[in-house]
């Protein structure tokens, strides 16, 4: 019983948000859209939370503003663009794919492919046979082998 309670609590912990009841839009469809869009926008004060999760003052102002735009009939993309013109691409939690973000998007997969390719090449090549023993080493080996246990 207690396990189930704890698990339920953990389940809810993930969906916590900072939206106050007074901020919500009356129309549930519009409110749902607002929630989705606000989860993709960064709170610039905390910088690692979306404005949906953040309790910062600015995040609250931006949530209100976003809901106003959506209630006024803006599309989701128009609202995002509204934020980007003011705060730059950094406000988007999912950075757009563009020349300056190629390293971010493709760097890790390319590095991984490089490592895999490198490993395959090294594996394929038969290891070079060790150089033959010199006469001196031959003699030492013979004496070592001849020694009684």
């Amino acid at each position: 019983m207690r396990t189930i309670a704890v698990l339920l609590m953990l389940l809810w912990a993930g969906v916590s948000n900072a939206v106050e009841p007074s901020e919500r839009l009356a129309d549930p469809a519009l409110e749902a859209r607002a929630r989705v869009v606000s989860q993709t926008l960064r709170c610039l004060v905390c910088q690692n939370e979306s404005i949906d999760e953040s309790n910062a003052d600015l995040a609250r102002d931006l949530r209100r503003l976003l809901r106003e735009r959506i209630a006024a009939g803006d599309s989701d993309d128009a609202v995002r663009q509204f934020m980007v013109t003011r705060y730059g691409n950094f406000v988007l939690l999912r950075p757009p794919v563009m020349a300056s973000t190629w390293v971010l998007w493709f760097g890790a997969p390319i590095a991984l492919l490089g490592v895999i390719a490198g490993l395959l090449i090294v594996r394929r090549r038969p290891a070079a046979p060790p150089p033959a023993l010199t006469a001196q080493e031959q003699a030492r080996l013979a004496t070592l082998l001849d020694q009684p246990e």
């Binding site: 610039l44 102002d61 705060y87 730059g88």
Partner: protein
């Protein structure tokens, strides 16, 4: 070929350590963002006390401040000096502040501003892309934002960045 491969991880480590060291340099704040409006026209705002139209045609500094903001208090003597000694044209936008509190703040510490706009709900601040007061914007004759400083100005920043850029734009 094998030797060269062995050097690769070491080289990668040195490269990364160098970059991390560079990113941790003491005068660098990674939270600081360049303004999205850099080299673009400032928002066409109309606040009680100050409108964008009032400001056209001159090079100036616009400082966004509030009486509730502790770093603003720290920064204030520097603004006073900028206005008095350097004759820097300085305008203020009171961000999400109560008028009475703001008046008390300026009565106590002095008023370096030629004009003040009262952004009571913070909407104009959002249009400017404000995310942490105090912020200072340098605006040129055409009304374009040329630089933005987030956080309190420091004497070093003023002599190294603010004044040179201000003088350069004024000389044009």
């Amino acid at each position: 070929m094998r030797r060269w491969l062995a050097v690769l991880p070491v080289a990668a480590f040195i490269l990364l350590a160098g970059y991390f060291g560079y990113a941790l340099r003491p005068d660098h704040d990674p939270h600081e963002l360049p303004s999205a409006l850099l080299d673009r026209e400032m928002p066409a705002f109309a606040l009680p006390g100050l409108t964008a139209a009032n400001l056209k045609g001159q090079v100036m500094l616009v400082n966004i401040f509030a009486s509730w903001c502790a770093p603003c208090r720290v920064e204030h003597p520097l603004l006073m000096r900028l206005a008095k000694d350097e004759k820097a044209p300085l305008y203020g936008i009171a961000y999400k502040d109560k008028d009475a509190d703001n008046a008390r703040f300026l009565a106590e510490l002095g008023n370096p501003f030629i004009g003040i706009g009262y952004d009571r709900d913070g909407r104009v601040g959002i249009d400017f892309g404000v995310y942490g007061v105090p912020e200072t914007y340098l605006i040129d004759r055409d009304g374009r934002i040329r630089q933005r400083w987030v956080g309190p100005l420091t004497p070093a920043r003023v002599t190294r960045e603010v004044l040179p850029l201000l003088r350069q734009l004024q000389a044009k």
